[in-house]
């Protein structure tokens, strides 16, 4: 075990190093990108389909790339301790690292299809990560839920991408974005938009697709921190931001994003207060943040977009930190229940400090970056193109509730109430686990004090990516003077304190109220059960297990489709002018029909066998009568063998009984229909002359070139020898298969004879 552990440790540092390297590499792009430039790399992937592996680094994608690699390296470091010694540690790191690469692909890809490929890769890796706790049912269910909800959206999005690419003849985002004006008046604009939003909304867990995200918290905490707050869920946000220049500015864009954003933000912040599990509470505040980001993406004003860019960074920093803190608490105390936790500040001082700093940022206290973010949010909300009062009100409620939740998650467990009955005796966590939360929290503070660094480096270039002009970016300031946003901030603090003070009572009320409201999670179960039920029902009907049913459907399909074809495609039937009729011929035909009918109705095996023989001989006589001696001889010999075999088999088989059952008349109608169809088609075929050039060739060449006077035999062994070869293969295999079937369960010893 110790050997194992040290190997894990060595291995575990590899992703940390790689992620860090990537982070540094991306940092080198900062100077250029800060100047508003974009860098594009492209190489061919599938030129026949217009798919390239092209990457674009501009303000927006660089911001994301830095968040992904930066937070990624901290999360990897953290995981080294958090999952140290876990038997699937290597798998975990592999998945998490693959996830990071996929996510980088999403934010850097310039080709829509390549972007989609990476997008789905994040879906797969997150499926495997959420299901990391695969041994319990909940883990498996949550993983599937996340996979299906985001997968469904992704498929719609794929259709949207294909349409977009086909409409503009290119899958390159950088080219499509140039055709923004053309797109907005295009007849397919709304279809494309809705399809793509289906993908982004499900991925970013907008209401009513939000329910999978809290469930995804079944994953280990580093995963929640990385995927479900800082990066993956923001893929949808990223894509909306990326498409903002092309799609924004229409009422559809504005209203869809605003409404979904507002509803998500408000509902999520209310639900967040309800939670007693710290991780769940954070999950809901993540939803709230995603709603807010969506809301701002609906707008076009400089304030709104600056607010988006800033809040994006703010949120990633403090939320990742807080998730990691919750992980530390869980690790140290063995529980995440807000009702039990308390008084951890003394034993976990460093964690407490990190938590405190991050929570202050989240709550929006100056001089933290969160404060600036919040000010900008209010400024942005007041400047929205639609209903500023309504939007500002929503943002106010959401912010105050977030304030309260920050207190519940990061203040109360450390400083309020005494610790009691914790499952484990808490202790301070190790340095690698602390590194993440502390660095992230300090960054939040640092950028709060020096906001212009952040602004120049990332916020302004991001705004430029969306609005096209770096000048549209609004300044990030700690003190912007006494204005409406400041007043709203003050109100936020008061409301937030109120909510925090009353949060237990509120929670109890919420539990009652929400308990009555329809639950999307349960709805999901019902949909899934319905689907399974429907699948079982239709399969039971189709694949019933009854041969009769199968036969009936097959023949009915035959009859139906042929009748429809005959009805719709009139065919010519012209009966010949003069009928060559011989009495012998008529007698033979009557013999065949008679034998057939007797076989059909008889309940005696012997009669059936005899009448089958009669039919066979009748057919052979027809062959003789119409100049086919070889066929006739073969038919007679085969007929003899058929009778011999049937006779031998019947020695062991039970007697026939008359078929009874109320479906027989229907069967008879079906049978009659099929027979009639065949006759009619055959008559139509016979109405036209036949081109005999193949036969003429055989007649001319049979003797001179193939040295045979029996043309039929020459065809069999020379002209069409390949047919005959296949045919004898059938005969051999039929014999082998029958032999195998008869002997298959016998022990080897009972094969008499053949060993001699």
């Amino acid at each position: 075990m110790t050997v194992m552990k040290s190997r894990n440790d060595a291995f575990g540092l590899l992703p940390v190093g790689l992620a860090l390297l990537l982070f540094v590499w991306f940092l080198t792009f900062l100077p250029e990108v800060s100047d508003g430039k974009a860098i594009r790399y492209a190489m061919d992937w599938i030129p026949s389909l217009g798919i390239t592996l092209s990457f674009l680094i501009d303000g927006l994608s660089l911001t994301f790339a830095l968040l992904i690699t930066g937070i990624g390296s901290l999360v990897f470091l953290y995981s080294n301790s958090y999952l140290s010694g876990h038997e699937h540690f290597v798998r975990f790191m592999l998945f998490l690292f693959s996830f990071m690469l996929s996510m980088l692909g999403v934010v850097l890809a310039d080709n829509l299809i390549a972007l989609f490929v990476f997008w789905e890769l994040t879906t797969i890796t997150s499926y495997l990560l959420i299901g990391f706790g695969h041994e319990n049912e909940t883990g498996r269910r949550s993983a599937l839920q996340a996979l299906l909800v985001t997968g469904a959206g992704a498929l719609a999005m794929l259709a949207g991408f294909i349409l977009l690419g086909m409409t503009f003849g290119s899958f390159e985002l950088s080219e499509i974005l140039l055709k923004s004006e053309e797109l907005k008046v295009h007849s397919l604009y709304s279809v494309i938009l809705i399809l793509i939003l289906a993908g982004t909304f499900t991925k970013s867990a907008q209401f009513p697709f939000h329910f999978w995200l809290p469930n995804a918290m079944a994953a280990p905490t580093p995963v929640s921190s990385f995927l479900h707050s800082a990066t993956m869920v923001k893929a949808g946000i990223y894509l909306m931001a990326r498409l903002h220049p092309a799609f924004s500015g229409t009422n559809l864009w504005l209203w869809t994003l605003t409404i979904f954003g507002v509803v998500t933000a408000v509902i999520a912040s209310i639900l967040a207060l309800r939670q007693t599990d710290l991780k769940q509470a954070l999950a809901y505040t993540t939803l709230m943040a995603l709603g807010t980001l969506t809301l701002f993406l609906g707008q076009e004003s400089g304030y709104a977009v600056t607010a988006f860019a800033t809040f994006l960074i703010v949120h990633s920093l403090y939320k990742a930190a807080l998730f990691l803190v919750v992980g530390c608490i869980d690790h140290a105390a063995g529980t995440r229940d807000a009702n039990i936790l308390g008084g951890l500040g003394r034993v976990m001082p460093f964690t407490a400090v990190a938590a405190g700093l991050a929570a202050m940022s989240m709550a929006g206290f100056p001089p933290f970056l969160g404060f600036i973010g919040k000010e900008l949010k209010y400024a942005g909300a007041l400047g929205v193109a639609s209903e500023p009062i309504f939007v500002s009100g929503a943002v106010l409620i959401a912010n105050s509730l977030m304030f309260a939740v920050a207190g519940v998650v990061a203040f109360r467990p450390f400083w309020m109430s005494e610790r009691s009955n914790l499952p484990r005796e808490p202790h301070e966590v190790s340095a690698p686990m602390l590194a993440g939360p502390i660095i992230l929290a300090i960054l939040g503070t640092f950028f709060g004090i020096y906001p212009d660094i952040l602004q120049r480096a990332l916020v302004a270039p991001t705004v430029a990516s969306l609005l096209g002009n770096i000048e549209d970016s609004k300044d990030l300031k700690l003190w912007a003077g006494v204005n409406v946003p400041l007043l709203l901030s003050v109100m936020t603090v008061f409301l937030g304190l109120l909510f925090y003070w009353q949060h237990r009572r509120l929670r109890n009320i919420l539990i009652v109220v929400i308990g009555r409201a329809p639950s999307f999670d349960r709805g999901w179960d019902r949909i899934l059960d319905g689907l399974k039920g429907f699948a079982a029902w239709q399969t039971q009907i189709l694949q019933s297990g009854s041969l009769y049913h199968y036969m009936f459907v097959t023949f009915a399909t035959m009859l139906l489709s042929l009748s429809v074809a005959i009805f719709l495609k009139p065919m010519e039937i012209t009966l010949p002018d003069h009928w060559v009729i011989s009495w012998q011929g008529i007698a033979l035909i009557l013999l065949i029909i008679g034998g057939t009918l007797i076989t059909t109705v008889t309940a005696s095996r012997i009669t059936a066998m005899a009448s089958l023989g009669v039919v066979g001989i009748g057919v052979a006589m027809i062959f003789i009568g119409f100049s086919a001696p070889d066929v006739a001889i073969t038919q007679l010999l085969v007929e003899t063998l058929v009778v011999v075999l049937v006779a031998v088999a019947l020695l062991r088989l039970p007697t026939l009984e008359s078929e009874v059952g109320n479906r027989r008349p229907i069967d008879a109608v079906l049978a009659f229909g099929v027979g009639l169809t065949v006759t009619v088609i055959l008559l139509s075929v016979l109405s036209q002359p036949l081109d005999l050039r193949l036969t003429e060739f055989f007649e001319i060449t049979s003797w001179p070139e193939a040295y045979g006077r029996n043309i039929v035999n020459v065809i069999l062994v020379d002209f069409r020898a390949l047919d005959t070869f296949g045919e004898i293969a059938v005969v051999v295999v039929a014999a082998l298969s029958s032999y195998a079937l008869l002997r298959t369960t016998h022990p080897v010893s009972s094969d008499q004879g053949e060993q001699r």
Partner: protein, 139 residues
Amino acid sequence: MNSVILIAGTRYLAGLLLIFSIYMLLRGHNEPGGGFIGGLIGSTGFVLFAIACGTADARRALRIAPQTLAMAGLGIALLAGLISVIFGDPFFTGQWLFLGASDSEKGLPISTVLAFDIGVYLVVFGSVLTLVFAMEEEI
């Protein structure tokens, strides 16, 4: 089925049918007959034999397992088709050798086509017997 006369009779009949079947096989290229018909007739002889004397005797008389015979037939037919490739012709091109050919007479034809038909004969013969013997033994 223990009648001595019947057993002796079927032995001769089987032999007779076998000879007749080979005759049918050989004349097949020019008159009704050929590998199928020959094989079917030949096997009928053995089927009778098996019914009269039992399959154990019939298997002994045959010496080789019928399924091996059938497979060998398939192999012969395949080789007959493949020989042409040696001569640079496509698969299944008939190769003819006329023994003692003169200007007026084509002579005795030896050909891959005949070999192919022999393969067919063996396949049909072997397969039918495989089937019938196995079936008989099952009862």
